[in-house]
């Protein structure tokens, strides 16, 4: 019975983490955007405006939950929950440190890839349920974008999986550091099994994975509907896209899903390409930096730091680049990213056969 209680505790822990991350993420986004646009951002509530998002949440909880008269009531009410649960379930298979993973499943990355695609359905539900032209246009755009960009993202992931030879994320993480059980070579020639650190990360183990990582990162921006791929909620054309009609706590759920998605896709990128919970510091001679900085607490620290860096880059890109047009978006996906991802997959096969 204790077993089941642990499951519940883990689930609640992950939920509170994603809620806390969304709070901090919104605040960080405001401050970063303010810095980039030479403004101050929130300053009044709390020290440096740090309580601003908490105040926003309090406001949202008090707001009336409005259901438009012509809306499909059930679809409209369930949509935010479906959107958030799809993202939240993805967290179940992410490893945080050596031996620390909520659910040790063999199909790790494949499962996450599957469960994220449910989000599309939630967005379509929201768009159709609202019975609003802007909402449905936003939902259609979002779905078209997500299912298109799943293809380059999927092939970039397959390129890594072919190198790692496993779908289990904990094993993928294990291979990229000093805890690896097999021989790890830097760029195919230098044995770094004992040195670890930066050199044994997947992007350096097989350098073509740097291209795969960039492809994955661009596609993950599109999958989480972030700028420059935010045509689903393009506020200058569509009011707010698929979540135009949502108020109060339902709107908060949609937002929570967006920020959790940012963290989720960044963390997958970190685990697959950037060494997961492994330290970036190598063992140099008798200075065993890698051995000293590997462990449970260090693992959590490294993976969180790396992921937050990627999230910060996502925010930086959002406030720097203008929005794509639909045709540019599809051109980029089908004519640039997809062929490149195919090439990466091919190189991975050759690399695995001849250089590892």
């Amino acid at each position: 019975m204790n077993y089941y209680i642990t499951y519940f505790i883990v689930a609640i822990g992950l939920f509170s983490f994603s809620a806390f991350f969304a709070l901090a993420g919104v605040y960080a986004e405001r401050k970063i955007s303010a810095y980039i646009q030479d403004r101050l951002g929130p300053t009044e509530t709390g020290k440096f405006g740090s309580l601003q998002t908490l105040a926003d949440i309090l406001k949202m909880i008090q707001k009336e939950l409005i259901i438009p008269a012509a809306a499909d009531k059930w679809l409209f009410m369930l949509a935010p929950a479906v959107i958030f649960i799809a993202v939240y379930m993805g967290f179940a298979a992410l490893p945080w440190a050596p031996g620390l993973i909520p659910s040790k499943i063999n199909l790790g990355i494949y499962y996450i890839f599957a469960i994220i695609s449910v989000e599309t359905l939630g967005i379509l539900m929201a768009g159709w349920g609202s019975n609003n032209k802007y909402s449905i246009l936003g939902a259609m755009r979002s779905a078209a974008q997500i299912i298109s960009y799943e293809i380059p993202a999927g092939f970039a992931i397959i390129a890594v999986v072919m190198i790692a030879q496993t779908l289990n994320l904990q094993e993928v993480a294990m291979q990229q550091g000093i805890l690896a059980t097999e021989k790890i070579k830097f760029a195919g020639f230098w044995d770094v099994s004992k040195i670890g650190g930066l050199f044994s990360w997947n992007v350096f183990r097989a350098p073509h994975l740097i291209i795969a990582f960039v492809i994955y990162f661009i596609a993950s921006l599109a999958e989480s509907n972030r700028a420059p791929f935010d045509i689903p909620e393009a506020e200058s054309e569509l009011v707010a896209g698929f979540h135009t009609e949502f108020t109060g706590i339902r709107f908060a759920l949609v937002f929570l899903a967006e920020y959790s998605m940012m963290f989720l896709v960044s963390m997958i990128g970190v685990i697959l390409f950037l060494g997961a919970w492994n330290t970036p510091l190598p063992n140099i001679g008798s200075v065993h930096l890698a051995t000293w900085t590997t462990g449970m607490a260090w693992g959590i620290l490294w993976v969180t730091l790396k992921t937050l860096t990627l999230v910060a880059i996502q925010m930086w890109i959002r406030w720097t680049l203008p929005r794509f047009r639909v045709d540019q978006l599809m051109n980029l996906c089908w004519k640039v990213l997809t062929p490149l991802a195919f090439a990466c997959m091919l190189i991975s096969g050759i690399w695995r056969l001849w250089l590892m």
């Binding site: 499909d72 059930w74 679809l75 499943i105 063999n106 199909l107 494949y110 499962y111 890839f113 599957a114 469960i115 695609s117 449910v118 599309t120 359905l121 379509l124 539900m125 159709w128 449905i136 259609m140 779905a143 078209a144 299912i147 799943e150 779908l167 289990n168």
Partner: protein, 182 residues
């Protein structure tokens, strides 16, 4: 009753109930979304049968692909067409539906027959597999097995399916191509 059995009946109930709703509902969009519940319950049943790869593939292909495509086709078609479709007042049993009813009935009899005659608890090959320890444990890695079998024993069907898919791909590209100015 063990937890597995409780889960089995629970998931089967959800699958059957949502499938019935999807088939009988007049609201087309809703029946598509309820179909999603059916597919998810089916995936749960696959997991209970230790076929987790099949379960995840089911979610990828049906939920992420086919359901979204159905919804796309649905939302791109005009509202008038949909209203006409939704307002058809037909009875469940009518002469027009006789072939369908007949087919469904016969298939139902076949299924009942199989279920009654199978005697699942005493199948010979299942007993053999257990006695030779040739069975799947919940922690087994099945992907290697699937990959090796696809590339050796089932290579011909695998290639045939990939050629079929390639044909569908080329056909779709041909259909959606811009008409050239001749």
């Amino acid at each position: 009753m063990s937890l597995v059995r409780v889960l089995f009946y629970f998931l089967s109930f959800i699958a059957i109930a949502s499938a019935l709703y999807a088939a009988s509902s007049k609201n087309l969009v809703r029946s598509i979304f309820v179909f999603f519940v059916t597919l998810f319950a089916l995936a749960g049943l696959y997991v209970l049968a230790l076929a987790d790869f099949v379960a995840v593939t089911q979610v990828v292909i049906y939920v992420g692909g086919i359901l979204v495509l159905i919804l796309f086709a649905f939302m791109l078609s005009g509202k008038e067409t949909l209203n006409i479709l939704q307002q058809q007042q037909e009875k469940l049993f009518s002469l027009k539906k006789l072939p369908a009813l007949l087919l469904a009935g016969v298939f139902f009899i076949v299924l009942i027959n199989v279920v009654l005659k199978a005697d699942v608890d005493n199948l010979q090959w299942v007993k053999d597999a257990i006695s030779f320890k040739n069975e799947i444990t919940p922690n087994a890695v099945m992907i290697d097995n699937i990959g090796i079998n696809l590339m050796t024993r089932y290579l011909l069907p695998f290639e045939a399916i990939s050629i079929l898919l390639l044909m569908a791909l080329i056909g779709a590209a041909h259909l959606s191509r811009k008409e050239g100015k001749v």
